[in-house]
């Protein structure tokens, strides 16, 4: 049973009716097959129309959809011989960020990303994709390891943000994020990021200060969650819908602002309705970008990456 979002209710009702009809006895007077196909057409059209004009707030909900493909789904399909590597070598292993060696399109690569989990048990195991300092320190370690062997780095970003906890603060959450950003900007190997769901604040940029940033059509990338922004600026968490609009956190807006380089279209009805197609589309976009920059000398890559960020913010939205 798929999880329907609030704004998908009309679609859910149609789908429900179709299900009912399918279970009816076939020897009635009305032609059930005809009726089903009519309703299906209607449902498909409604889905297409709804997703063609998602509001920013609706995109926030799609980006957080529990059935969206997550890091491990991508690694399963796109990465051959994926070999996760654990631990930050200081304190602990943080399962909110997974990273390891593997082969992408024939190239050995370091693949790192947030994993949110797919059911209660795995969500708890991965702390809902909210990393502690150890996660960022592990990422830093793995990026340096990749650099030592001249391997490209691929990061998949999907986090509500870094974990806000007493222990995380005590062990230097801010410092861990800052150093992770620093290493992203320093490595002399290709670094490509894909925002696959939620690009939440410092927890996201810690892995996304990259040569190229790709973003899924309904993913979001923001300095703060709409709810957090609403409660601070509007002093009312209920204003999250307005905040989502004001923050310009959608892929098309970020493309226009020059923050990201490419938007990957999602299947009709969002990534959650067709994981395979979504993963394939991301793989294709990644491969194209990787082939563009894999031959570039490390120092040049690093200089261009820095230039890319220094150039940001010169233009606003039209």
């Amino acid at each position: 049973m798929p999880t329907f979002l609030d704004f998908e209710k009309p679609i859910a009702e149609l789908e429900g009716k179709i299900e009912e009809l399918r279970h009816l006895d076939g020897d009635g007077e009305i032609n059930i097959a005809d009726e089903v196909s009519k309703l299906q057409t209607k449902a498909d059209r409604l889905l297409r129309q709804t997703y063609a004009k998602l509001t920013p707030w609706q995109r926030v909900q799609v980006a957080r959809h529990p059935d969206r493909p997550h890091f491990l789904d991508y690694a399963d399909v796109l990465i051959e011989n994926f070999t996760p590597l654990a631990g930050d070598r200081f304190f602990a292993e943080d399962n909110a960020i997974i990273g390891g060696l593997g082969r992408f399109c024939g190239y050995s690569a370091m693949v790192i990303g947030h994993e949110k989990g797919k059911d209660t048990e795995t969500r708890l195991h991965h702390n809902f994709g909210m990393a502690r300092p150890e996660g960022y320190r592990k990422a830093r370690r793995l990026m340096r390891l990749a650099e030592r062997f001249g391997l490209p780095i691929i990061t998949l970003v999907d986090t509500a943000g870094a974990y806000p906890g007493v222990g995380a603060e005590e062990r230097g959450q801010a410092e861990a994020i800052a150093r992770s950003i620093e290493v992203c900007l320093d490595v002399r190997v290709p670094l490509i990021s894909v925002i696959i769901g939620e690009g939440g604040s410092g927890g996201a940029i810690a892995l996304a200060a990259a040569d190229r940033v790709i973003m899924l059509e309904h993913a979001i990338y923001s300095v703060i969650s709409p709810e957090g922004c609403a409660s601070i600026l509007w002093r009312n968490g209920e204003e999250a819908i307005g905040a989502a609009e004001a923050l310009k956190l959608t892929a098309p807006d970020l493309l226009e602002l020059g923050i990201i380089d490419k938007v990957v279209a999602e299947p009709v009805g969002g990534a959650q309705r067709n994981k395979e197609a979504t993963i394939a589309a991301v793989g294709e976009a990644l491969e194209k970008v990787l082939r563009e920059i894999i031959g570039v000398e490390g120092g040049v890559l690093r200089a261009r990456r820095r230039e890319r960020f220094l150039e940001m913010g010169k233009k606003g939205l039209g």
């Binding site: 906890g165 603060e169 992203c184 923001s222 300095v223 957090g228 600026l233 602002l257």
Partner: protein, 321 residues
């Protein structure tokens, strides 16, 4: 300069400015709530004379009390795009900016200046919390980069005094991008072999802490300063338990190994001068060793050609200094 600072600001200021009417002569300490006479407070570097609470101070006050003889030159911040997202919450962002300009007479939340500290040329980038909570947007990021480049150009150490709630939400993801941008600036200073010193003042939180503020070669906290990534309220809501005593205070960070030292404001200038001296003048100060006549017969006092030889050497002690 743009129309905001050139046109709107002077007009509004002309309307609201009162001519030299003394403001409140007494300040209430936010720590102990005692009243302190303003002159007494200023003389004590805005540290409460009753409880030692370090009050937040403006960028100007900070520069005056830190630089030699209170002298320094500010540089104009690079011009940047204003309100790139056309952001509006309960108020327009442009209106919030205007209010902040009027309140502080500043371009944005950062002041960049150069001057001398213990005789050593330094560049200082100082945040002012009064300007939209010292938040970091494009203008602050550009100013920070300008400060770093000025430091590299002048071969001077960069000293940064953050006092900031974090990223400026009204600039959306563009403010998030100031984290990598300021990090690049820090690395430019470090790659030039110059000291990068951060004095974390109250408060230093969010995206500011998670970028340049935690990358100092030396990290100094001011007593009692709140320093952290997530806000205490957010953490409290998440874990639903009482936060430990002194959580996220400078002393707490020191105890957890996150900063090098906590230094009271009164000792800060001397501490900075000592550190800069140690980093900038790493070799022993050269001693003046008089040469014996046999080593340098041409310098011997008896040689009529060298009447002023000894004197000259004193004026010209060593190449090291």
């Amino acid at each position: 300069m743009n129309w905001l600072t050139n046109f709107v600001r002077p007009k509004i200021r002309a309307l609201v400015r009162k001519e030299d009417v003394p403001e409140n002569l007494w300040n209430k300490c936010p720590g102990c709530e005692e009243m302190i006479f303003h002159r007494e407070l200023a003389a004590n570097l805005y540290v409460c004379t009753h409880c030692g609470h370090h009050l937040r101070i403006s960028a100007e006050q900070r520069l005056k009390m830190t630089m030699d003889d209170g002298e320094y030159q500010c540089i104009e911040l690079p011009e940047t795009i204003v309100d790139p997202l056309k952001f509006r919450d309960r108020k327009r962002y442009t209106d919030r900016l205007k209010e902040a300009h009027n309140l502080t007479d500043m371009q944005d939340a950062l002041v960049v200046a150069h001057g001398k500290l213990g005789g050593i040329g330094v560049v200082m980038a100082v945040f002012d919390f009064r300007f939209l909570g010292g938040s970091m947007g494009i203008a602050v990021g550009e100013g920070f980069i300008a400060a770093a480049r000025l430091a590299v150009l002048q071969k001077a150490p960069l000293l940064v005094f953050p006092s900031s709630g974090g990223a400026r939400m009204q600039e959306g993801v563009l403010s998030l991008m100031q984290m990598p941008r300021t990090t690049i600036a820090v690395d430019e200073v470090k790659e030039a072999g110059l000291p990068y010193i951060v004095v974390l003042t109250d408060p230093t939180t969010g995206g500011v802490t998670a970028s340049f503020a935690m990358l100092g070669d030396i990290a100094i906290g001011e007593p009692g300063a709140i320093i952290g990534f997530a806000g205490a309220r957010v953490i409290g809501d998440t874990i639903r338990e009482k936060l430990p005593e002194g959580f996220q205070r400078a002393e707490y960070l020191l105890e957890h190994g996150m900063i090098d030292m906590v230094v009271p404001r009164k000792e800060l200038r001397d501490t900075l001068i000592r550190i800069l001296g140690l980093l900038r003048n790493p070799t022993p100060a050269a001693e003046i060793v008089p040469l014996t006549p046999s080593e340098a017969p041409h310098l011997a006092a008896g040689n009529p050609k060298n009447k002023n030889a000894g004197k000259k050497r004193e004026e010209n002690p060593t190449a090291d200094e």
